[in-house]
């Protein structure tokens, strides 16, 4: 069985493009705002933490501050697809809404026919994110998009090697974006699940557990023949965030832990103080009649920032400052999050039970403190007042309303490189990265007491494997990198079945040493829920017999002498005492004893019976 976990896209290459103004170049409605910027989402869109590969266009000098930027069509680098025979992939598991961006390439442009599983919020917000992606970076005309897809199609069928046996990518795969239709068709193919819903997929049992990272964020537990493998992707153990907290049940009795999407920061800056810091700076800027821009994704930590900032500003007497959320998906995202109360932390669930809005931003919308718009265009003019706080995409600063709202940057994309595209910047920038994902250290601490057999860390993020190995002394620590092939031994020993009372009543265990033993001959009945053992209807002649015990050789020889009149018994012994041979003459008998193996030769059946009876009397017969 083959399956894939997550399907993201690296969007860092967007930094090679010039910013695209989604409005016409003349409309710059909201200029001259002094803006403060905060990078919110600095985790990669692509989950595998893979090594940086070739730049999109070698003619462009990468990374240079003065590099010429590509004009026009945005291209993305999708995960390595050419080595995969998609028809052999049985299913795909998605961990959170960010890890879904490349999925339409798979469902719409390969021969993948398997199932896809994701939680309800992952599907809803993932769909929104893909739509925003297309709106902001997609092509304007259908025809050119078709060309892009043709190109992709040819690339996807080119792969002849097998990714599971080793594979070297020959060239970088550059793709134009999919269409909105592709997004919808793709989303329709995903099966929505809830946390702790048990999925039975062939011989695997798979369950989703809360990762604490975002609404519907998932860590997958894969149970194979009673051995458990936990896939820990973007997770957060930070308290007081809006999602349902990280569920430790995913790690109960787990044998193998695959860690992914860790965050490599060392400084354990507490989130509270970060929020306080943001509150302080924002309040100061607003008092100075400045405006604040957060370039961000319309999801995740943004919900917490709106909530906390709103409360903070209210507390410091700036409660009437308007907030704006500007993105093609702003309205959907704000509204859907408010009806996802079941996926939120206890405190917000309690609000939902009242019934109050579990998301403070819904109250702000109702009280005309928060406004949403698809674009920073004239529709916004009527409700727009300064000073204000603006949340706008895209965090790469290469498209979306955020461009219109002057210039800013973000941490997923190198901050300096991102911001360097905007010359003559008169705004103040503040770089306060917020990353709520588990760090290597946090992950190690969690695993320390659980003692899984094996733990896999992504190679890029681990600086010192020895120190990790020391802390996780009872586990085997392994690193993995891009396109590495790792074999993990599954050595579960037992699987739980049930036997019927009828079968149990046929079994008469015999005391053997400390245990009771019995030979069981039965039928295995395969059932949907649980396999069961029931009595066999075959002849008992086929029931095996087993013998347990040690042969007492002197006693054996003695008995032979007594029972076979006039025979001559002799003994031959091996040097190391492990092999014995008893010879008898007239009638001829040879008994070879080698550890647990006996060979008995006789030349007539009556003698065989005598020898057999003597032996069996010394043994426990099962």
């Amino acid at each position: 069985m083959n399956f894939l976990i997550d399907c993201g896209i690296i969007t860092t290459d967007f930094l090679n493009f010039s910013p695209r103004d989604n409005l016409s170049s003349r409309t710059q409605p909201l200029t001259s705002i002094s803006t403060e910027i905060d990078g919110i989402n600095n985790d990669l869109g692509w989950s595998q933490n893979e090594a940086k590969r070739i730049k999109l266009d070698p003619s462009i000098e990468p990374n240079g501050v003065n590099a010429r930027r590509i004009r026009g069509q945005f291209l993305v680098e999708a995960p390595e697809f050419s080595g995969i025979d998609w028809s052999t992939i049985d299913f795909i598991l998605i961990t959170n809404y960010k890890q879904i961006l490349a999925l339409p390439y798979v469902t719409e442009y390969t021969d993948f026919r398997g199932k896809i599983y994701a939680t309800e919020p992952t599907v809803i917000f993932g769909c929104q994110l893909m739509k925003e992606f297309v709106h902001l970076f997609g092509e304007s005309t259908m025809s050119s998009s078709m060309n892009g897809m043709e190109k992709f199609r040819s690339l996807s069928t080119r792969g002849t090697s097998d990714i599971f046996t080793g594979f070297t990518p020959e060239m970088n795969l550059v793709r134009s974006l999919y269409s909105l239709d592709d997004v919808q068709n793709c989303v329709d193919k995903i099966q929505q699940v809830r946390y702790e819903e048990i999925l039975i997929l062939f011989e695997l049992q798979i369950t989703a557990h809360s990762s604490g990272y975002c609404l519907g964020g998932t860590n997958w537990l894969i149970d194979i023949e009673s051995e458990k493998i936990a896939v820990i992707s973007s997770s957060s153990t930070i308290a007081n965030l809006h999602p349902l907290p990280f569920s430790k049940s995913v790690l109960d009795n787990v044998s193998i832990v695959i860690l992914n999407n860790l965050h490599n920061s060392k400084d354990n800056l507490r989130l509270e103080s970060t929020f306080q810091n943001i509150g302080k700076i924002v309040a100061k800027v607003l008092r100075d009649k400045g405006n604040v821009l957060f370039p961000c994704t319309m999801n995740g930590i943004m919900f917490d920032i709106i909530d906390i900032l709103g409360k903070h500003l209210n507390a410091v007497g700036l409660g009437n400052i308007p907030f704006y959320a500007i993105s093609p998906i702003a309205e959907e995202s704000l509204k859907f999050s408010n009806i996802s109360g079941e996926w939120m932390c206890e405190e917000r669930q309690q609000k939902m039970y009242m019934p109050e809005n579990p998301m403070a931003h819904k109250d702000m919308i109702d009280r005309n403190l928060l406004f949403y718009a698809a674009r920073a265009d004239s529709s916004l003019q009527e409700i727009y007042h300064e000073p204000c706080v603006v949340f706008a995409g895209h965090p790469s600063l290469r498209s979306g309303a955020t461009i219109n709202f002057i210039r800013k940057w973000e941490s997923e994309y190198d901050y300096k490189e991102a911001i360097s595209a905007f010359e003559d910047l008169q705004i103040m920038t503040e770089y306060i990265p917020i990353d709520i994902r588990l760090t290597v250290e946090e992950a190690t601490n969690i695993l320390q007491e659980l003692k899984p057999r094996q733990v896999l860390f992504p190679r890029e993020i681990v600086e010192d494997i020895n120190s990790i190995q020391q802390l996780l002394s009872s586990s085997l620590v392994t690193l993995y990198g891009h396109l590495n092939i790792l074999n993990i031994a599954i050595n579960s020993q037992y699987t739980r079945l049930y036997m019927s009372a009828a079968l149990a009543s046929e079994i008469y265990p015999i005391n053997v040493g400390q245990s009771k033993l019995a030979v069981v001959k039965a039928k295995l009945r395969k059932a949907r829920k649980e396999d069961a053992l029931i009595p066999s209807d075959e002849s008992n002649l086929l029931k095996s017999k087993y013998f347990w015990g040690k042969i007492n050789i002197l006693e054996l020889m003695n008995q032979l002498n007594q029972q076979i009149y006039g025979c001559r018994v002799s003994l031959e012994q091996d040097m190391d005492n492990s092999k014995w041979t008893v010879y008898v003459e007239s009638p001829k008998i040879i008994i070879k004893i080698n550890n647990n193996k006996l060979i008995i030769k006789t030349e007539d059946n009556d003698t065989r019976k005598i020898v057999q009876d003597i032996l069996f009397k010394q043994l426990v017969v099962l």
Binding site: E197, Y353, A504, G513, R528, L541, L542, I599, N605
Partner: protein
């Protein structure tokens, strides 16, 4: 063994409360209570389920009027599970009910507001399809399925070991304007406990009923009449509100529409937050327009009761037994222009039931009688499954036994016959306090080694009769039973294990001996030489012996073990490890001239003994010479 006792809802509607005892020695006996409802037809202790039957039980679900009575006044301490919307709405309904009973009717011996709060703290909310291990116990598992009916309604699947029960609560198999249809996996439970409110009804098309409803309302208000629609706060209220709202909008009507304030209003707020529990259409359009933000429907105020002119009012409760609906009914009933539409079921004894019965004079309380002159219409919008729906659910989950509750006795009996006839499963309809015992086969957990399990699984082959000229494809079915053999080991405090023999031999704790036997069978050649078919075998009579023994054995063994594999060539044949052959040339000796070699492994001792006895029968030993020569 599974035991089921209805404490309420046996031959009865309302007051749902079913006690189930499930499990065996291996899992422990688990007691579970499903639902905790209250009877609307009584005003004394009979309205509560009879909890005196219970000693200790475990949990329940969604009809919850008596829940605080049970947890706070009867002292239940165990876990309680319900869905998120139920957990949200339940305290509101309880509080509302408490207010009406205690504050308006002045009753005592009822639960208090604080009791409701304390009770709700004990509740664990569950999501649909989430599999809960109760108290972390692997032996007791519950899972909720969508039930339609009202917001948050769920059916519960409970499993203890290999025993399982489904309790449906109220459910609806047809989607409506605001909820989806109930759905369940084919879980093949030992027992399905299903409600049967509409055991004999088969409803006509939904569309026709809706048209009928709207026409009646429209006709009445067009004449200047007032329409009273008694509803419960949740469910039909929202369904009918959506219906009226869209009709009013389409036809540009301006006749005022109200819903009784407080509860219904608040209930709508819950619908707005729990959009995910409604249906796909509402969910997909809610960003642009939340269906539960009604434009035409306004909250009701008491003074509107005396205003002249046409109006439509949705008022709680649905059976006209108490509260706003009864109050307004008293006012509007004497006027023939007005109309009351009963969209749901009414328990016998309530004013609603009497009105539906056509009574022209109704005793509304101890002192007052009112004249009923308004038009009375009954339209079944009740969100219970009808007979077709119940049959459909039984088919979906494929139970071994069916138990009917929450229905009227005569109707249940009709459905009971139908179920027995059509699905050939036992079907029961117990009265309150009557215990139904369902025998389930006892099952004992056993840990099977993965090696053995895998080998067994991969050894399963489709039975193809390849030797026949034509393969009958219709004879090929799925393999559901595979022979398995191993060694059972039992140790103190451990679940029995079944391991492969090879594993047992490797296991230092269990040194099993392997014994190979090797012996000669001497025979008298004269018998064979005299047989005509073996004339040609004179040169080596042992070949004749092989053939003769083979035929004799095949004859017998094929009857005993039809599918045993026998492999034969000229000089030997083999059944499992038992090999019957001509002694090798290297083993010289006069005595081997008229002998066959028989060898086997002691694991096939049973088979070997049996085969040797056959051989002894067909090939007698030669009369022994006195001087048997033994070569050294």
């Amino acid at each position: 063994m599974i035991k089921i006792v209805p404490l309420g809802a046996g031959h009865d509607v309302g007051r749902s409360c079913i006690l189930v005892s499930i499990g065996d020695d291996s899992t422990g006996i688990k007691n579970i209570m499903f639902d905790c409802g209250m009877h609307m037809g009584y005003n004394d202790d009979r309205r509560f389920p009879d909890f005196s039957y219970i000693s200790k039980s475990k949990r329940f679900t969604e009809q919850l009027d008596s829940l605080p009575f049970f947890t706070e006044m009867c002292g239940y301490e165990g876990p309680i599970y319900m869905t998120h919307p139920t957990k949200a709405i339940c305290p509101i309904l309880l509080e509302d009910y408490r207010k009406i009973t205690v504050e308006r009717k002045g009753e005592t011996n009822f639960f208090t507001s604080q009791m409701i709060k304390d009770c709700m703290k004990k509740v664990t909310a569950v999501n649909l399809h989430q599999t809960i291990k109760v108290n972390g116990d692997n032996d007791l598992e519950i899972k909720a399925y969508y039930a339609g009916h009202v917001l948050g309604a769920a059916m519960f699947y409970v499993r203890a070991g290999t025993q399982s029960v489904i309790y449906t609560g109220d459910y609806n198999m047809t989607p409506d304007r605001h909820l989806g249809a109930a759905w369940i996996d084919r879980v093949q439970p030992d027992v399905l406990i299903t409600e049967s409110t509409y055991a004999t009804t088969i409803r006509d098309s939904k569309r026709a009923r809706e048209r009928d409803f709207l026409k009646k309302v429209h006709d009445c208000v067009a004449q200047g009449g007032k329409v009273l629609i008694p509803v419960f706060a949740l469910g039909r209220a929202q369904e009918l509100c959506i219906l009226i709202e869209t009709y009013w909008e389409r036809n540009n009507l301006d006749v005022p529409v109200y819903f009784s304030a407080g509860m219904t209003e608040r209930a709508n707020d819950y619908y707005k937050l729990f959009i995910n529990w409604t249906n796909e259409k509402i969910k997909n359009t809610f960003v642009n327009r939340n269906m539960f933000d009604f434009k035409h429907i306004k909250p009701w105020e008491r003074q509107f009761m005396d205003l002249p002119g046409a109006a439509v009012l949705f008022a709680t409760p649905g059976m006209l037994h108490i509260g706003t609906s009864l109050e307004v009914f008293k006012k509007w009933a004497p006027h023939p222009k007005n109309m009351v539409i009963m969209p749901g079921y009414c328990v016998a004894g309530t004013v609603g039931a009497k009105v539906l019965n056509g009574d022209k004079e109704v005793q509304v309380d101890a002192y007052n009688k009112i004249q009923v002159k308004l038009q009375v219409k009954n339209l079944s919008f009740s969100a219970h499954a009808d007979a077709k729906g119940i049959m459909q659910l039984i088919k979906q989950c494929d139970p071994k036994n069916v138990i009917l509750v929450h229905g009227e006795k005569a109707k249940m009996e009709f459905l009971q016959d139908k179920i027995k006839r059509e699905y050939r499963v036992p079907c029961y309809a117990p009265a309150n306090g009557e215990t139904i015992t369902i025998e389930t086969s006892l099952s004992i957990p056993i840990d099977v080694s993965v090696d053995l399990y895998k080998r067994t699984m991969s050894s399963s082959k489709l039975k193809l009769l390849l030797n026949s000229d034509r393969i009958d494809l219709t004879k090929i079915g799925p393999i559901d039973e595979i022979p398995i053999q191993g060694i059972l080991t039992m140790d103190q405090g451990q679940i029995p294990r079944l391991i492969d023999v090879e594993e047992a031999i490797r296991d230092a704790q269990l040194p099993l001996l392997e014994i190979d036997f090797n012996t000669l069978k001497k025979f008298d050649p004269s018998q064979l030489i005299n047989m005509s078919e073996y004339r040609n075998f004179q040169k080596d009579i042992r070949l004749a012996a092989i053939d003769y023994v083979y035929k004799s054995i095949e004859n017998v063994i094929k009857k005993e073990i039809p599918n045993i594999e026998l492999t034969k060539n000229l000089s030997q044949f083999k059944l499992k490890s038992v090999l019957i052959s001509i002694p090798e040339a290297s083993e010289k000796g006069e005595n081997k001239k008229n002998a066959l070699k028989i060898s086997w492994n002691s694991k096939d001792q049973n088979l070997a003994d049996y085969l040797i006895s056959i051989i002894d029968d067909v090939l007698p030993e030669p009369t022994p010479y006195v001087n048997d020569y033994i070569e050294t």
